[in-house]
């Protein structure tokens, strides 16, 4: 074998603390190394060209680049060697920047270490084999999980390009959180005016199949060929017959059902259509409250329904769909703010969440846009907004910033002034986070134009009291840290800007999707900066807040981005797998099944070869973790590119003196 070694200066990033020329010289003494040199910027155009030329000139059949982390530039250099006609896997990297030059100060020790890391790479490369990807067919349909604005955008973009879309929405209507909002920042335009047309587009687009009031039951398969089971939860209404006329909801005698769409600040009927612009605009019975379903009495809705759509004995239905890619757009839920006992823990009627306040201000909400406080219907005069409730708070395990609360609080304060010009709005904040186009100007407007009073400091407690007139007041005890004093406001109503976390059940879905998720229920992207839409499971993409807090424009952008990723994936006639997968040596395999037992992906199956049972790797499912290789006593199953012999060669290079 002929190996070429290229030791990168990375400007002064490496050269400052590693003697790269010496490393290159030492590398020449390693077995099979026939060419070695140090170069200024290996990843630059001339640097790569240099490698290509050296391969041709010296007839190299393997290349080692000693530079930065392979997590950074391995793909780059693989393409380089491929350009020169080598198999892309005949390449290894030695990480002498992040793991050497940037962390050690002793030039001698660093140089020695760099040379050893090159040695490791050479020893591994000597045992590398060319690997070739396998091709397979793709089902050109995409599953979009979640029908909020991010999912809607992704679905519309994908459908627009001709891709079939299956959308699954947990609620009985799409629209997500945005449908609940009254206005949006920084333009104060009407939320539903912007969103409703897109929702209608979803309903009307022939490429989109919508499953509302449904959930993903299970997912199997792999990129290009997923099989998804969808649970259509019983609605007790035959949606094919339901016209959304609303007669049933008018006549339903059960009126005490908490209205989830209105964030429980009002009640609705046991048969309900969440809001006038709902898509699909179909009625759903809440079986926990319906008298007919619970007690067998009533049946009013069935009597009044003009199309006979009511089906009291409906059961859940499981449907199966085949797709080639999946976009998760499951959004968020509010953090459980009732842990804040000092804010009443949910027991003070006039301390409400910002989302409840949105419903209160919305013209289509339960108060038709009139602001009345819940306890006694009084029109509030002093309204206090408290920011960062459930955000940036380590004591409740939510250390992160929820990102968009500063903006909507400013919006709500402005809207308050709009609705109630005589009211006073006080905003307790820690920092105003308003990066974004026209955002900071917006928070300034709240203060300059609308006279919203901003006070810098967290609120310590809300203490209800009874005023001389018998009305309940809420003493909000805060601090003005700029003044260096504790301050109080006697508020009529308090609006909490409650932080967000991954939506309920996100962890469960992540397990089904085999993607990672963090402590807060947010799905993990493949790379924070460079692969923010991809996940570590091929063919699964993320859009919207399910990946991390973001506002509407960012959610829409990520929805489009996810759709674009799917389009790129489907643009090829066939897909290729990553060939770094496990391979069974059938003569060594005794079919003990240990690999099958430990494989996290069910990627290994038992097959019969010439009458004998053997393990077999489904290459397109295998992700190359190598747990099987570490398990097989015979060494009969080897994960390509990280075989026992390759790792042993590295261990021996380090430990055998």
């Amino acid at each position: 074998m002929k190996i070429g070694v290229f030791v990168c200066h990375c400007g002064s990033n490496i050269e400052a603390t590693v003697d790269t020329a010496t490393v290159a010289k030492i590398a020449l003494t390693y077995p099979d190394v026939v060419f070695s040199e140090d170069t200024m910027y290996t990843c630059s155009e001339p640097g790569q060209e240099n490698i290509v030329q050296a391969i041709k000139k010296h007839g190299l059949d393997g290349v080692v680049v000693a530079s930065c982390s392979p997590r950074m530039h391995e793909p780059t250099f693989r393409r380089t060697v491929e350009r020169a006609g080598l198999n892309r896997y005949m390449f290894e990297m030695a990480n002498i920047r992040e793991h050497v030059s940037w962390i050690g100060r002793d030039r001698e020790a660093n140089t020695n270490k760099a040379a050893e890391l090159v040695r490791l790479a050479v020893e591994k490369l000597r045992r590398n084999a060319p690997l070739y990807a396998k091709q397979f067919d793709v089902t050109k349909r995409v599953l979009v999980i979640g029908g909020g604005v991010a999912g809607i955008q992704a679905a519309l973009d994908a459908a627009e390009s001709g891709i079939g879309v299956v959308m699954v929405e947990r609620e009985s209507t799409i629209g997500g959180k945005m449908a609940k909002l009254d206005k949006t920042f920084p333009t104060i335009d009407c939320s539903s005016c912007v969103l409703a047309p897109k929702m209608v587009d979803v309903a009307q687009n022939p490429n989109i199949t919508l499953y509302a009031h449904s959930e993903v039951e299970s997912i199997s398969g792999f990129v290009g060929n997923f099989t998804v089971k969808i649970r259509k939860r019983a609605t007790y209404v035959d949606w094919d017959k339901c016209t959304g006329c609303g007669t049933c909801t008018e006549k339903c005698p059960t009126k005490n059902v908490p209205d989830a769409f209105n964030e429980d600040i009002s009640t609705c009927r046991a048969i309900n259509i969440p809001f006038p612009q709902a898509i699909p605009k179909k009625a759903t019975i809440n079986p926990d409250y319906c008298r007919k379903i619970k007690e067998g009495k009533c049946g009013v809705c069935a009597k009044v329904c003009p199309t006979g759509a009511i089906v009291y004995d409906m059961v859940d239905e499981i449907v199966e769909e085949k797709v080639g890619a999946i976009i998760a757009a499951t959004g968020y839920d509010l953090v459980d703010w009732t842990v804040y006992k000092e804010y009443g823990g949910g027991t003070y009627p006039d301390v409400i969440t910002s989302l409840q306040y949105e419903r209160m201000m919305s013209a289509s909400g339960p108060t038709a846009g009139h602001i009345h406080r819940p306890s006694d219907g009084m029109e509030p005069k002093n309204i206090v907004f408290i920011q960062c409730v459930g955000s940036r708070d380590c004591s409740i395990g939510r250390p992160y910033c929820s990102g968009f609360c500063c903006m909507y609080t400013a919006k709500q304060a402005i809207m308050t002034k709009d609705h109630l010009p005589d009211a006073e709005a006080f905003v307790f904040y820690m920092d105003i986070r308003a990066p974004g186009k026209m955002y900071d100007e917006f928070t300034r407007r709240a203060q300059e134009e609308y006279g919203v009073q901003y006070i810098r400091g967290r609120v310590s407690a809300i203490q209800p009291t009874v005023r001389p007139d018998g009305r309940v007041g809420y003493i909000v005890r805060g601090a003005d840290t700029l003044l260096g004093e504790s301050v109080e406001v006697d508020a009529d109503m308090v609006v909490l800007a409650v932080g967000v976390e991954g939506s309920k059940g996100a962890g469960n879905l992540a397990e089904k999707l085999r993607i990672s998720y963090d402590h807060y229920g947010f799905f993990m992207e493949s790379h924070v900066k460079l692969r923010p839409v991809e996940t570590n499971t091929a063919g699964v993409y993320l859009a919207g807040v399910c990946q991390g807090p973001k506002d509407i424009p960012a959610s829409v952008a990520q929805g489009s981005a996810a759709a674009a990723k799917v389009m790129a994936l489907f643009s090829k006639p066939k897909l290729e797998n990553d060939p770094q997968v496990s391979v069974v040596d059938i003569k060594r395999c005794v079919a003990c099944g240990k690999c099958i037992q430990v494989c996290p992906y069910q990627a290994i199956e038992e097959v019969e070869i010439r009458g004998q049972k053997k393990a077999h790797v489904i290459e397109t499912v295998c992700q190359g973790c190598g747990v099987c290789t570490a398990t097989c006593p015979q060494g009969a199953i080897q994960v390509a590119h990280f075989t026992d012999n390759q790792l042993l060669a590295e261990v021996n290079a380090l430990c055998l003196s």
Binding site: S516, Q580, Q623, L648, C655
Partner: protein, 484 residues
């Protein structure tokens, strides 16, 4: 390859590509200054790290080995680190038996974003290794040739002589052959009265040669995998039956193919212990047993000995004298004693009494005597790789053919590691050793640690899942090893 003399020690790291390798990158990007000793080997997942890699490094002179993967629940491959946690925890507990300080090996979890944590891990681990100093070299450790001589007391009465139910057993075997079994594995008298030998009985005449008694030492389960797919029977002692159960549990033989014949066992003999009581080279003429006494007639003279003097060590502590699984059980079962307070056989007891460095010297002495005949492997019913043992191949090439203590010990470590969670404690490896090397101690060390961590014993339940082939998300018995 040389370590910077006097400055650095040899520390090898196995890092998961997705988390810890990224964490090390993050630390580097943040210019977090760290000790320079560590050399990182990138692996796809901590679950890829075969504990043998760690042993290889330590045996071959590494001063410290660190494995780091994704935090539990955060595995890039969803579950690899859970397997790693079990294997590596067990490995850490195993190390002292071969004289390696377990502090020289550590495993931990660092995510790609935890640059600071990585820096702390590297710094603390490197400092720890420096505090321990360079690992003792095999070349420098004085070899010891002393060995366990202790005769442990039996927890139950041992006996010999004709088993009263033997005719019944023979009849049962004959019946089974008549019903269509291809053959039944058992023992018959060997070249002299004290040596038995395995027999594959296919005819009633052969069945008449079947014996049962203290000379039936062989664990016949060893032959079962080669008959896979054929309908045969096997006669088992309690200890042998555990091997059958484990083979069944591991899907290496099928239940419907094998018929198990059991009888109560009263202990078997250690032939070296009998021979030691006779003049060297004398011809054994006959042997009779009664109660707990054996009388060997050799060179015209009678030698009397008790089972307490000549029984195998395992029989003295045996709690399963009857087959744990059988289709035909003949005669009255032997009374099962309660588990002894100390289940260690003399090999492990002796090792436990030594210091770490003495243990190294002990294995050095033992391995110098090893002739690498691999009889231990051949006798092991759980060594099912047969012709494809990883120690005999070039790919993978775990051991070389070099005749060194390290290579020979590494073979033993492969054997022990492959048996972790599977070894049923039949001690056939040790019985088969022509050099009388107490190799079972390595397996017993794994066995007791598996008992300690996972409360699991192999060969008792056909439906059990061996602890290394499964995991729990929360491992109540494994403490987090936090280096940061």
């Amino acid at each position: 390859m040389s370590v910077l003399a006097g400055k650095e020690l040899r520390i090898v790291g196995f890092l998961c590509n997705w988390c810890s390798y990224g964490g090390a990158d993050t630390a580097g990007t943040a210019r977090a200054v760290q000790p320079t000793d560590l050399r990182i080997i990138r692996v796809p997942c901590s679950g890829r790290v075969n504990p043998l890699f760690v042993l290889k490094a330590l045996i071959n002179g590494a001063d410290g080995v660190l494995v780091s993967g994704c935090h539990p629940r955060d595995c890039h491959y969803s579950a690899g680190n859970y397997y790693a946690r079990r294997r590596l925890e067990l490995l850490k507990e195993f190390l002292p038996v071969i004289g390696i300080n377990p502090d020289r090996f550590e495993y931990t979890w660092v995510s790609a974003s935890e640059g600071q944590r990585w820096k702390d891990v590297v710094t603390n681990f490197t400092n720890r290794i420096h505090a321990l100093g360079p690992a003792p070299r095999w070349e420098d450790v004085p070899a010891r040739y002393d060995r366990p001589e202790e005769l442990i007391e039996s927890i139950r009465p041992l006996g010999c002589g004709e088993h009263p139910a033997l005719p019944e057993l023979r009849q049962a075997v004959k019946d089974a052959l008549a019903e269509g079994l291809e053959g039944v594995l058992g023992w018959k008298k060997g070249f002299d009265a004290v040596h038995a030998e395995p027999v594959f009985m296919t005819t009633p005449e052969e069945v008449d040669s079947l014996i049962w008694g203290p000379f039936n030492v062989h664990n016949l389960a060893v032959y079962l995998p080669q008959y896979k797919g054929r309908k045969i029977g096997v006669v088992v002692k309690g200890c042998d039956s555990k091997g059958v159960v484990e083979l069944l549990a591991e899907n290496l033989i099928s239940r419907e193919d094998v018929k198990i014949f059991g009888m109560g066992c009263n202990g078997t003999v250690s032939l070296p212990r009998i021979l030691a009581k006779l003049p060297e080279g004398v011809k054994i003429e006959s042997c009779t047993g009664r109660g707990n006494k054996i009388t060997v007639t050799a060179g015209g003279q009678d030698y009397e000995m008790t089972m307490a003097e000549v029984a195998q060590d395992k029989c003295r502590l045996c709690t399963k004298p009857n087959a744990v699984l059988s289709d035909v059980f003949v005669g009255t079962p032997t009374t099962e004693p309660a588990a002894p307070a100390d289940g260690r056989l003399p090999g492990l007891r002796f090792l436990d009494s030594l210091s770490l460095e003495e243990r190294m010297g002990y294995w050095k002495g033992q391995m110098e005597r090893c002739i690498a005949c691999h009889a231990c492997r051949g006798a092991c019913p759980m060594c099912v790789c047969r012709d494809y043992c990883v120690s005999d191949t070039r790919d993978p090439a775990w051991v070389t053919q070099e005749d060194t203590v390290q290579q020979k010990l590494f073979f033993q470590l492969i054997h022990a590691q492959h048996l972790a969670g599977r070894c049923t404690g039949c001690t056939e490896c040790e019985r088969a050793c022509p050099m009388d090397i107490p190799v079972f101690a390595l397996k017993q060390q794994f066995g007791r640690m598996i008992q300690k961590i996972f409360s699991y014993g192999a060969g008792l339940d056909v439906n059990a899942t061996p602890p290394l082939l499964t995991y729990q998300v929360e491992e109540p018995t494994i403490k987090e090893h936090d280096l940061a």
